[in-house]
Subunit: 346 residues, 2 copies
């Protein structure tokens, strides 16, 4: 794709996650970086853009507002605290900017619905920034769990994502602060597990959602660790566990009537360009390798820019698939949160 047809990203903040995403955009043939907004110093932003190989003509804005006014920005990536999502995503939509929004997409589904409405009214594309969903391995996994011959009917899924946050994270990270990402480990690590469970169930919402006893909160009432149960008709059930307090584990075990899927590194693959998963059934255990030329975050950018390109260059309507997945995930996060054993405010 020629440079003229590349989708031009505006990025908010000079943070590590933007560093990772800017590399992904640079690796994506259909996307480029046109601007960044910083709320700290321009000097710092200049140094950030240089050290991360941003295009030399990247504009630096000194406010989010200013970036949203930039006519050379097609789409905005928002790695900002969840509490700010509804304000900035709706403002961006009203300015006709397509939206790549970090998870969790909002503090609750009614906030998210404001974003949905703004996207619909303004015809902008929405996607949440859950990178592993775009890994080619994920498509292979989906193919396996949908295969009635090899996997059969789904019966049970267990998914966990935990990492042992250090003291600094547990004191200062936005994910443990009531004013910022009030959903804590549930909105962060839990988001991935819920989306994996939805994927294994062909994105069908469960019949009931129940937080499990034994959740751990910090002094401000933010979830540091919790689990939940989901169940569907016909004895289909799933459990998830998410935690900031346990060793790095990123596991999916999905069991069908005929096959079993195991993934050990579903969120961030051990290797960037060679991923694996295991299936078993009919007495055989098989290791599958999936080679990918690009890291999963670039796959995400390419898919997002492709959808934006359809709108920008071909007059297509926004594609609602990813938005619907985000909404379902947020719904389950909300239901889990509502059934947590303790009442909390944030």
């Amino acid at each position: 794709m020629s440079g003229d047809n590349q989708i031009r990203f505006g990025l908010l903040t000079c943070t590590n996650i933007v560093r990772k995403l800017s590399r992904a955009i640079n690796l994506s043939p259909n996307a480029t970086i046109s601007a960044i907004a910083t709320t700290s110093s321009i000097e710092e932003a200049k140094s950030f853009t240089k050290s991360n190989n941003f295009p030399p003509n990247t504009k630096i804005h000194i406010s989010y507002e200013s970036l949203l006014e930039d006519p050379d920005v097609d789409a905005v990536y928002f790695p900002i605290p969840t509490r700010l999502h509804v304000e900035w995503a709706t403002r961006a939509a009203r300015k006709g900017k397509h939206i790549l929004l970090d998870k969790p997409v909002a503090l609750n589904v009614s906030e998210f619905d404001q974003i949905v409405e703004a996207c619909e009214v303004n015809g902008v594309q929405f996607m949440d920034g859950t990178q592993w969903m775009h890994n080619p391995r994920t498509y292979k996994i989906k193919e396996f769990v949908n295969d009635l011959e090899s996997f059969g009917q789904i019966k049970s899924v267990h998914c966990c994502f935990s990492f042992a946050a250090n003291d600094d994270f547990l004191k200062h990270d936005i994910r443990v602060k009531p004013g910022l990402d009030g959903l804590g480990a549930l909105g962060d690590a839990g988001w991935y597990t819920i989306q994996a469970i939805l994927l294994a169930n062909d994105f069908k919402l469960p019949k009931t959602v129940t937080a499990l006893p034994g959740c751990v909160l910090n002094d401000a009432g933010i979830v540091l660790s919790c689990g939940a149960l989901f169940d569907w008709e016909d004895g289909i059930s799933a459990t998830m566990y998410c935690s900031f307090l346990a060793n790095l584990t990123m596991e999916i075990t999905a069991i069908g009537t005929k096959g079993t899927l195991r993934v050990h590194d579903f969120v961030i693959p051990y290797r960037e360009t060679e991923t694996a998963f295991t299936t078993s059934g009919r007495g055989c255990v098989s290791e599958h390798k999936v080679m990918t030329e690009l890291p999963q975050e670039a796959c995400m950018v390419i898919e997002f820019a492709r959808l934006v390109g359809e709108i920008k260059n071909r007059g297509a309507k926004p594609d609602g698939f990813w938005l619907s997945i985000s909404r379902k995930t947020q719904l389950i996060v909300d239901e889990t949160e509502a059934s947590l054993p303790l009442n909390r405010k944030f």
Copy 2:
């Protein structure tokens, strides 16, 4: 060990599980088969003993009573329906026979306590027939989850054991019959998962036990599939899933603050004499291999016969360790059963 010091087993029934256990006894240097009881024809029993390489002088009894009277029997293996355990195990204990009893050990803990009492009063050794607990790999797993440096404090365990039973099993097996093994998949597949979860928690009983919604029962009210949650202090939790209706899966995922354990074939290892498990922590994933000269069922027989030998040859008292594990497992089975969403009778 010379033949004179071998523990002499009496076996009940000519069934497949006795075939497997007789092979294990034949492989165990400290055990031998001295008798078998059949309730069908002597001819059939003779052919069974021959085709399974029983010692040529194995006595054939035509009733369980008769085997229990046999002075050449030190210990009895009971692969009989759970409903019959309390009667036959207590009768065996009163005859001074040591007891290797299949799981689940009883229909409930109060029945099991009658067996416990009979064993104590009569000074006989008790062990349940959960073979994987005696696999050398299990000791290595235990070592890992107890290691505060590599594994840290336990936080979460998920364990599942499922297999897709065929129509014949689902119609006729004793494990789906109210009059025989009334605990269904919970007492069978669930037993293993509960013992694995106890093992990972250093055999500490959980604070609460809750069956999860979505259990599947057959027309007679027997559990074909269910799940449960267990939780301890300090946000430590475990979930289990057991099923006769899903593909063969035998998974332990235990997460500590510093390490993670994964076992994919904990109940019946893929290979008899070379087993594996995976640990991760500090950014490394390690595959561990454990070589075993003998299959795990022979390891179980050797350990049981060793304990019986201590009593028979050295005047030791019965060792209460395995009995205490059985009792804890039965307690959790009972609690899970009691919290199942439907009231059932069996």
